[in-house]
Amino acid sequence: MDSLLEEKGKVQVQGVSKLFGKTIALKNIDLIVEPGEFLTLLGPSGCGKTTLLRLISGLEEPTTGEILINGSKMNEIPPEKRPSNIVFQRYALFPHLNVWENIEYGLIAKGLDKNLIEKKINDVFDLVDMHDFKNRKIDQLSGGESQRIALARSLINEPDVLLLDEPLAALDLQLRKRMQVELRQIQKKLKTTFISVTHDQGEALAISDRVAVMNNGEIEQLETPDNTYKLPKNEFVASFVGESSFIKCKIIEVNNENLKVQILNTNYITNVINNQKNKLSINQEVEIMIRPELVEIDNQSGFEGIVTHKIFTGPFMRLFVKTTLDQEIIIDIKQTSDFDIGDKINLKIPNNSAIIVSSK
């Protein structure tokens, strides 16, 4: 009994592949989503993230592999019998029903008592703060309102797992940012497992407990937002999540905690972090990645580059610097600097701020 309780809200994806005709949408995916976790599937369009969500909801069946929700197998179980609910990208509100009727739809399917339905609807209206909208028609709702109603319509069924397919993609920037916070608050309050799909890396980092970065039907990295940003496993993750610059280097020292590389074509040496599984050896060529805000300017000991573009972004100035190896390094500097396009500049990669993302 205890173990059953522990598994409530747990989603296990075991060796799942999905083919559409000859195109492979998902390749042998393994994924465990813990109860009460907010997990985001992040990736470019066509990476298979929505397919994975639809497989969990039961709207598609996997070609091979198994999906377990609450510890029990879900294969062949139709969507209406699964303990999950989904919020669709364009909300899929029933156009012929009003707001109230949309929300009670799932409860009527369950055959709940009328008084209970009313109580639950009032509760859920509290949750999403939509009390004034009960009798509205669907075509009288704005994007943000539709979004809340779609969320309420799913949440009222008290699913063990809530699936969200690009839930905020149709909203404008300001509303999107507010809804991110709200979504996270609702999830914390309900302690329901949320699995969300997005191509917006900012959103993924902002709302999730863990982020699964997907590409070409595979999960490239599954980590907390912090680690996804700071310790990307490879070039794809590094460039998809956040801004990044890549620099070719040569390893000159390998110790347990101490990994020193020399930037090619320069004498510049710095300590870097290693996130690679395979063993590294001296003189091996590697590629390191560094985030723009970590690069510093140091006219005494830095390595040389030429400013090619500069952009004012508000909080800081972003410079694009070309190295002697023709690689582009992006740096963000706070002060309104006197650098101009064409200027020579000396850059510094502080110790343990860059990370090895590929090695040959």
Partner: protein
């Protein structure tokens, strides 16, 4: 057993089988009857059932009149198509790109005229073009002429203008629908990239709406070259066309086998032309990217003053005005004449009265025809709904081997001339020894209405957001509850609208009905009787009533479907 079912349903879903078999049995098996008939001979309805090639020999080698009339009719069909298509194209263009905001209203105006009875519209042109008609009266009044023009009525001119009037809305619909799919920004991009107005039409709009243009062309060509009512009413002695000849073989001449042979030859020519056009289309598709209309490039607007002058003229408004006048004048003429108290109604009207309306309601045959029409219409609606509703779904949502062919077969009753369907039913009934009657008429109407219903429902279902159904599944409904609580209520307005249209189509159907009805009559055959034997003015009052009912039904159905996304000819 289960396995066999599954195999069969990948060829054609079981739920679609009734409609498939219906069309197969009632359209293609009578064809076989027609072909069989064409190898028999007849001496005034005494049919000799021995196989012979005599009819074909007679038509091809002895009596050249028939071949002459066939080619004359095809030629008239071509003329009608070449007049109708450009008008329909311009109309579609200005509705899509110029009058975008009121396009639904204008679309309604065009469609309302389509569904007012075919027969009545021909009759109206007879009144307009005749020696006592409006045009002659007008010119006589102005003193421009002192003898009425006689060339207006009874000749190719009147046939072509009448057929253009009848077919224009039908040609307009497919072209308009295919233009609806053209992204406005594509047109703007073409202008932005330096192509002028005309070049954009040739480079962008015509290629993108080409399938619609082709469908419209086939429609006009086939239906007009095989028409038998128009030549009979407005054609006179010079305007005899092959449709009427075939009709007469089954009518007072009494040689159905000869009529069948002519029809078979006509069908062979149609299929040959169809084949030819599909080859041209394929070649066009290959060459499309290579053809350059360089010769047109920006030459038209070289003269700045000229172009400024042109841009001042509101061509769109003028054109639209003329089209609406063209479509509606005949209908108004009938309605106005129906209030004349004179026995031979003509302009100017001397005394207005409701006299002929009262006369009409006194007529027993009118009452019988009305009841017959209502019964037939009701059966047509129910039958069409039961057969075509499931197929509309499977055309949108299922994949199966015969899909393309089945779809073409389902639309075939629209593209096959009514006279051919009618006489093949006569032949089939003759072979099976069936008596004509209302049950035959009803089943013919179901056959004819299926394509209308499918086109409307299919386009509605194609615009149906499937994630709405998925949401309902996800919220705990099994598939049958999803159908009951979600899908059906959402598409219900379209179903009702389609049923009303089917009823209107059935109420006005004349071509096939007239051939298979036998001794009974429906409203259109009743009108036909009045028009042919002693033109009584009650024809005007009944026609007016029919026009108003049709207009009402079309407005009603479009009102019901107002918020439903339908685009009938969308691929």
């Amino acid at each position: 057993m289960k396995k066999i079912n599954k195999q069969l349903s990948s060829i054609i879903p079981l739920i679609a089988l009734p409609q498939f078999l219906y069309i197969l049995f009632l359209l293609f098996i009578p064809f076989t009857g027609l072909v069989v008939y064409s190898f028999w001979t007849s001496d005034f309805f005494e049919i000799d059932r021995t196989f012979t090639l005599f009819n074909y020999y007679f038509i091809l080698f002895e009596e050249h009149l028939y071949l002459f009339l066939i080619f004359k009719s095809l030629f008239i069909g071509l003329k009608v198509a070449f007049v109708t298509i450009p008008i329909a194209f311009i109309l579609s263009y200005i509705l899509t790109f110029k009058f975008e905001k009121i396009s639904n209203l204008l679309l309604g105006i065009v469609m309302v005229s389509t569904l007012s009875s075919y027969l009545i519209r021909i009759y109206a042109w007879k009144i307009i073009l005749g020696e006592q008609g409006i045009i002659n009266k007008f010119f006589l009044f102005l003193g421009i002429i002192n003898q009425p023009f006689t060339f207006l009525l009874y000749g190719n001119f009147s046939i072509i203008i009448t057929l253009v009037h009848i077919l224009l809305p039908f040609a307009f619909l497919p072209i308009y629908s295919s233009m609806q799919n053209i992204d406005k920004q594509i047109v703007e991009a073409s202008r932005d990239l330096g192509f002028g107005f005309l070049m954009t039409i040739f480079k962008v709009i015509i290629p993108l709406s080409f399938p619609g243009i082709l469908a419209a062309f086939l429609f006009c060509f086939i239906l007009s070259s095989a028409d038998y009512v128009t030549p009979q009413l407005v054609g006179g002695a010079d305007g005899v066309m092959i449709g009427r000849v075939i009709y007469d073989q089954f009518g007072h001449i009494g040689d159905p086998p000869l009529g069948s042979s002519i029809a078979v030859i006509l069908l062979i020519l149609f299929s040959f032309l169809f084949f030819l056009i599909s080859i041209i289309y394929k070649i066009y598709k290959i060459l499309k990217t290579k053809i350059r209309f360089l010769f047109l490039y920006n030459k038209i607007y070289k003269n700045n003053y000229f172009s400024y002058f042109l841009s001042r003229i509101p061509f769109g408004y003028i054109f639209l005005f003329l089209i609406i006048v063209f479509l509606y004048t005949p209908l108004f003429v009938i309605i106005i004449l129906s209030f004349s108290s004179a026995k031979f109604a003509s302009f100017p009207i001397e005394e207005f009265s409701l006299h002929w309306y009262f006369e009409l309601f006194k007529d027993n045959v009118f009452h019988e025809s009305l009841v017959a029409s209502l019964i037939v219409g009701f059966i047509a609606v129910v039958g069409t709904f039961l057969l075509a509703m499931p197929t509309s779904f499977i055309f949108v949502r299922k994949k199966f081997i015969l899909k393309k062919i089945f779809f073409l077969i389902s639309l075939a009753p629209l593209f096959i001339p009514g006279i051919i369907i009618g006489i093949s039913w006569i032949a089939g009934m003759g072979i099976l020894d069936l008596r004509p009657g209302l049950y035959i008429v009803s089943s013919a109407h179901v056959l004819f209405c299926i394509p209308f219903f499918i086109l409307i429902m299919r386009s509605r279902l194609m615009n149906f957001d499937l994630s709405i159904e998925e949401a309902a599944r996800d919220l705990g409904s099994n598939p049958s509850r999803v159908l009951r609580t979600i899908t059906f209520p959402i598409i219900l307005p379209s179903i009702v609208g389609a049923c009303i249209l089917v009823f209107a189509v059935s109420l006005d159907e004349f071509i096939i009905t007239n051939l298979v009805i036998g001794a009974n009559s429906t409203i259109p055959t009743y009108i036909w009787g009045m028009m042919r034997y002693g033109l009584t003015p009650t024809a005007n009052s009944l026609s007016s009533i029919m026009i108003i009912i049709s207009v009402f039904l079309v407005i009603l159905s479009s009102f019901i479907m107002k918020n439903q996304k339908t685009n009938i000819f969308a691929n």
